[in-house]
């Protein structure tokens, strides 16, 4: 039960709160509105007319599809790598004591504290030093640096709250390492991994800076959008794509929220 039930908040506070919410969300609505505008050269307010023809145009543009495919591919692979490496790292750091543990913990988190541009430049010079050609994998590598952190942060917090004696209890009752992982560790960290994975996917999906340095000529969806804005050509197509992206990413995040709501939630750290 809330202790302040029945108490009314001052009108000024309500106005400020409403203003804050509008400031945050009106621009997103504007994007939706511009997806239907008839004016294709500039964003003109109010829209001179409304049309749905940009949806068909966007559907038939192969560059939209290739950018979308690349983004999904990169985000999936980076998230998968992050889930494996982040979980393993979190397990090592939280379950055992070894020389240099704190250093490793810091080094893992560092990429998220480091400005993306530094990560990007560093990776780019490393790639050119070793003559590695740009490919999907160079982008994946760049994204994995911060995706691992997100998964690691979620997993390590859950591991810390998962009593170490649970693992010992499982072994004591006859379960080997694999059985213990499957029946005890995974159920206990599952929701944390789901939340971390979702966040990692979302971060990778809209990443621009690191991708600029590690992508070469290929365009992920956010890079493609950026280019579209700079060189105006069928501008509302960008808005159509943006709208689809919002809807497509919003649903899994909503799902993750409902799935992790029952267990005590761990906030992911944003980049």
């Amino acid at each position: 039960m809330r202790s302040d039930r029945g108490q009314r908040s001052p009108i000024l506070l309500k106005l400020f709160a409403a203003g804050g919410l509008l400031f945050l969300h009106l621009p997103i609505l504007l994007i939706f509105v511009y997806a239907f505008t008839t004016e294709e050269k500039s964003f003109q307010w109010p829209p001179p007319g409304l049309t749905t023809r940009w949806f068909a145009v966007a559907w038939n543009r192969p560059d939209v599809w290739s950018a979308m495919a690349l983004s999904v591919q990169v985000a999936c692979i980076a998230t998968a790598i992050a889930l494996v490496l982040g979980t393993l790292c979190a397990a090592a750091v939280s379950q055992t004591k070894f020389f240099g543990r704190e250093v490793i913990s810091l080094l893992v988190i560092l990429p998220i504290a480091l400005p993306g541009i530094i990560t990007g430049i560093a990776l780019r010079s490393a790639f050119s030093l070793f003559d590695i050609p740009f490919s999907v994998w160079t982008i994946v590598l760049g994204h994995a640096t911060f995706c691992v952190v997100v998964v690691y942060n979620n997993a390590v917090a859950r591991f810390r709250r998962t009593s170490g004696s649970l693992i010992e209890a499982s072994m004591d009752l006859g379960a080997d390492g694999f059985q213990t992982f499957r029946h005890v560790i995974l159920p206990n960290i599952g929701t944390a991994l789901l939340a971390g994975g979702m966040l990692a996917f979302a971060l990778s999906f809209d990443e621009v800076i690191v991708t600029t340095f590690t992508g070469g000529q290929q365009a992920t969806l956010p890079i493609w959008m950026l280019e579209e804005l700079i060189r105006p050509r069928q501008r509302p197509v960008t808005n159509v794509v943006a709208m689809v992206v919002v809807l497509v990413t919003f649903l899994p995040i909503l799902a993750a929220y409902y799935l992790t709501r029952d267990g005590d939630q761990i906030a992911g750290s944003g980049k």
Binding site: S165, A169, M171, D172, N188
Partner: protein
Amino acid sequence: MTSAVRFQKVSRHFGSVRAVDGVDLDVASGEFFAMLGPSGSGKTTCLRLIAGFEQPTAGAIEIFGERADGVPPYRRNVNTVFQDYALFPHLNILDNVAYGLMVKGVGTAERHREADRALELVKLPGYGTRKPAQLSGGQRQRVALARALVNKPKVLLLDEPLGALDLKLREQMQEELKSLQRALGITFVFVTHDQGEALSMADRVAVFNNGGIVQQGTPQEIYRLPKTAFVADFVGSSNLLSPDLMALLGGDRRWASLRPEAVRLAGDGTEATVENVSFLGAATRLAVEMHGTKLHVMLPAGADVPGVGTRVRLAWNRQDIHYMDDAA
């Protein structure tokens, strides 16, 4: 009599820390064995060595005649009741208890039947569908017990099993554990820092200090004939008499212990001054000063109790003076 657990010169060192150092241990089959000692004395490490969570740095461990060192915990017929119970929070009580059978591949119907039976054994029938978080501390402890016993271990290890329970529950569980052990005939090895618990429950007690066993024996032996001053001090509120005092009293110049209840007030004894009087119900405890040493004297109920500050004379039987190895 077969040995359930045998340690031969077992050591477990963590870097320069000698957690367990050259321990010889022999737990008989069907015995209720207590490992007693202050924290950091090595008793818990010994328990973990039996369970397999630790491997010895040196020495040999045998469980029912089979070499156990190098064998992982999941291949030992030994189960543990953990201090924090370590129940799986995501499983209900029935699945917690059936966990050991589940990983061994026992079918659902059979393992649930066995788990139900184990829950009845610990007096928690019908609790199977609840989650661990919905149970009280005492109930969780019973579940932990059932979860271990359902595997029919040859040795059951208990790590401070009653430490987290309140006094009344603790006394009740002491009796239940004891009768459970008698009924099942399983060897119980438990770790405790509570000397009362060790003395009242165990058939035999090993007193640990500084990574080694100072004394092993029945509770009576440990209490009456402490081998060192540490045992005398840790196991009971025994009076420690220094070598100088013993010489003054006409005895050997060695450390000795004297039980408070062995001292009586007499007309022809050694002079002492009463400093404090505590009424304990069944007895009255005097704190007295004798030749500069503070002693406790336990007077039975009904005896005349001298006032604070009065001079009294103390006497005891010669055989109640128990000489010890050292003052460590």
